[in-house]
Symmetry: D5
Subunit: 150 residues, 10 copies
């Protein structure tokens, strides 16, 4: 799946779309150990498909790797590829999760998308790929709730 060279160590521009962005994977150093890796991505932005206006989100991904880890520079570049593409909140959050599952075939994956408010109302999206694996330790993502003003 990742027969190209790793993007790590090379200068790589922003892909035109999530579909064209390349995600790299590297071998899991502890493939027999059931652990969680959490990525926090406070720098996510896409475009509203209806209005073309920018949307912003804070995204947190937890996964239990099997044979592969996501290479973090390529994850960053993948996230950037949404920059000029239309994406609905609910759909987009889950699409990101599914793309990572395709790449990594992890034991399990969870995503939280914390979108900035529109019309005074923020939407958060929470999904996991299946039941939390037995005996896994998984702290809450702990993102502060939205409070408006005051």
């Amino acid at each position: 799946m990742t027969e190209h060279e790793l993007q790590l160590g090379r200068t790589v521009g922003i892909a035109e779309s999530p579909e064209k962005a390349i995600l790299d994977r590297v071998p899991n150093p502890h493939p027999d150990t059931f652990y969680v890796a959490r990525f926090t991505v406070p720098e996510f932005t896409s475009l509203c498909p209806e209005t073309g206006q920018p949307d912003f989100a804070h995204i947190v991904i937890d996964y239990v790797p099997k044979n592969w880890l996501v290479e973090s520079k390529s994850l960053k570049l993948y996230m950037h590829s949404f920059r000029n593409h239309g994406a609905f909140h609910e759909g987009c959050t889950i699409d990101i999760a599914k793309r990572l599952i395709d790449l990594l075939d992890p034991h399990w994956l969870r995503i939280g998308g914390y979108w900035y408010p529109r019309g005074g109302i923020p939407i958060d999206v929470f999904w996991q790929s299946g039941p939390v694996p037995a005996n896994l330790w998984l702290p809450d993502q702990g993102v502060a709730p939205y409070r408006g003003r005051g």
Copy 2:
């Protein structure tokens, strides 16, 4: 149920009552995926049925969509329709939840109503439509407890 045109993209005034407000739904892009959408509504106000004085609340809704998502602009307008209507705290919070269940027929829904204090005592109301679905991920709503002063 929603045979009218979507309110999205049109100018729509505040409905006279919750009964007259129209809630729109749109297709769920991931109907086979068990995820949560959370709406935070810090801008809710109604009238006290006994005194006619305004009441205020911070409301958070979590649901697991089946075939439909609530369209967020129409949700905002529905919330606004309580502005000049009488509503008791306990009843009103649950009425909102039931209206959304009627519209969306979701797998599951939860509502938290965090009402501003009256007589020095705030009331919070918590309800969910049934047991939390197995294998669902559902972070706490995390609204700060009331503390008075000091």
Copy 3:
């Protein structure tokens, strides 16, 4: 049990004792719905039975109503009735809970009493009337732990 007129809408003084205070109940608008109502009472004070000196507490009550809701003005007045009465921390907290159970016959009730420190040590008291009902949603009370100074 509440054959007197409601205290709501009338001027009512502070009762001489909790025993003499009247708690009113009103019909539950959603008797078939299993929900929680939370009352936060940051304005509670009683007297130490040994020294006659004032004690203070922050009290939070969660309950699942069956046929009745507690009327909140009468709850406030009941809480005020401890003002000039002696009460030990552990006993008093639970007495309040039991009085509400007598009045409301709820499905379930929980009380947290967060007493201000004496001798540098605060006491908190936590009780619930039985197992948390299946499928109930009940956020933590979330009262900040005591930390002394610094």
Copy 4:
């Protein structure tokens, strides 16, 4: 100016507009003492004059009374009178301040209007009627800054 009876102790409805709302004043018990009274109003709402949609704000008022204090129930009712009236953020915040100055002729007054975000951007408005009087003690209003999500 306030030759009507005080609204305190009577049932009073919401005025149709700020202009029709009555603000009451009572004598300052310490007219020779230079002190600050701070009112925090987390329950403020008006309508956007352009779209008719509701706006919300958290408002804090500090003033140094001369001969009069504002009667707090009438202040609450005055704030409620904006409920169904159009008001721009910047103008409205300052109009409230000026109305109080007309009523009270205070030594000095300050207002902070912390408006909920529109288009992802909240507006705060800060004004004071003149230089902070010498030797006055005036803590910061300390309202938390807006942070979006994450």
Copy 5:
């Protein structure tokens, strides 16, 4: 002025009124040093003179002693003497400050009264006896602003 024995070390009941409560003073161990002593009183309650209902406040006092310190047990008892007495927010806060000035003749004194909300609106009262003395160090009282719910 304090020719009675100190209350420290004896059992003393709650005085019937602030006027009848006795405040004790002890010599300042550093009369030539310009320092601040801050007392934080989170356990203050009085009665509303209009309705007879309890009011609550969190009170913070800063002063620069000259020849006398206030004895802290007697301060506690003095604060308790408001328990069954009527007191308006603005007046009461400043009365406490003036009573301490009478007792202690300090170089300077500041009081902050942070009253619990009534009608959704808390009142804070801030006063100091004169300009902050030159070269004094006086941290902010730092009491968190009121935020309603959410």
Copy 6:
């Protein structure tokens, strides 16, 4: 300068560059009153001119209007125009401020740019157009300091 129609009420796309973005102004309703308007923009992104990678910032602007207010929808669109343009942190933050000064000719303006970390080190940029006007009230922007992890 703003002889075009306002963008408010029309659908407007993202400008190709800050230079091409149009900022609208509206008359100040209180031109004789010295007040501050604060805009908080948590949704700002530009491109690094060296690497083409996205940068993110949280930006807060305070100004004292003279004859004009900035129209907030056009401000939002102007901020969006940096989305696909290169901008250095220090320069860009101040360029935004100067553009607003050109448009509004305010009495005074202040900008804080709080940039997300690069290389483990965030840069904040603070500028004001001149001395804080006498007698102006200007709360701190209060953005939380960066802390890394833990």
Copy 7:
């Protein structure tokens, strides 16, 4: 076991060692009710057995009383008895718990010892006497994690 007179109401010095300190118990007013009493002790200090230098801890104890409550003044005095005695972190925390179990024979007990850092590393110790009793309500102790600086 506690055939001496209660220490409550008498002046009692600091015991020379935990072994010599006397812990008093009083009857549980609700022996048939399964509730938790939490004591927070932010004022704990002992000596390091290796170096003789002081150690400090913040200690929180939760227990479910059977027939006895610990008398809180005697608990305070017991805690003080560690002041000039050597105690290792892990052992000492659990010794305190076991002493209380000996005294009270509670249904269940939990202790958290949050020790101040040595060598840049704080140690926390957590123990409970058995499984959390079914149907008990037991909020988290919620002590903030250690974060070093920044």
Copy 8:
């Protein structure tokens, strides 16, 4: 395994590598008691194996000792031994845990590695050695989530 003298009480330099660092163990004073010891290590740094640049992490370790406790000075020295060695985030965090398991043969162990952001994205790693032992009390590690800026 630890037949050398304890490092405690001697001056010991930083080991050249984790492999060469010596970890000491001491007998568990309560080997029959199922408790948790938590070590918080906010001072951890290693080198990136690809670039040679420093990485930083905040690390928290929870374990249930069987016969041995880790000696805390030797733990500090072991942590320091990563200072000039290359280590990937996911692998390194788990390697530390496994080294402690080798030394201590505990009933159970959990590690949380909270790494500082690279490329705007922090990685957290969570692992435990097996299911949480029945009846163990184990508070959350509670490390604050990463939030970028604002």
Copy 9:
């Protein structure tokens, strides 16, 4: 004044009294630079001279060194010397400051003593040795205010 050998690098017990404790000083590496050194001492305890019961405080010291710095190990030992000595809050806080001034002859010194509550009321003591030197940068000590419970 400090003609003895430094205590640094030697094992030193707790002095019997503050008078007998030795404070060491070392040369200021930047004697011509006007800077602040802040020491935070969260581990301070003394005895109440009236009752013999322990008191606790969190103490923060800021100073501007002239020719000498306080050696931090000796500062720790000096603080420990109050462990078994009687000390009143106001007097003790200032005595510590004056002892440091005697030792160091600094340009300026400030102390904040944040004492744990007694009788529900904590006392804080704030002192500085003279006006804050011109052009000095001195952040607030920022110790959180006391809040009781809730």
Copy 10:
């Protein structure tokens, strides 16, 4: 002074000492504008010159550039050069500031060094190069005070 090529865009190892580390500067894009640039460095570590053990600090630098900005990658590398060098807290913090002044000849510079605790006591160091320039805006660094445990 910086006649070498910029380190930006090249792979550069950690310098052996601060003296050997190269700091780069780039032209200030707004040399006529009096603004502040703040760098936050939560990843700083050096060695204790007495014991050879690692020390850690969180460092914040504010400066007002004249003709030059510090290039941020070289700043990061300079900070890393302390990794294996001995440095006392007070001296080191100010040495960093002076090195930057030599490089940049700024209008003004301020540094805050927030060192992790040793012996239970953290040291913070605060210095600025001269009086805060008139009309400069300079928010507090706002680093949280140290609190020990609890």
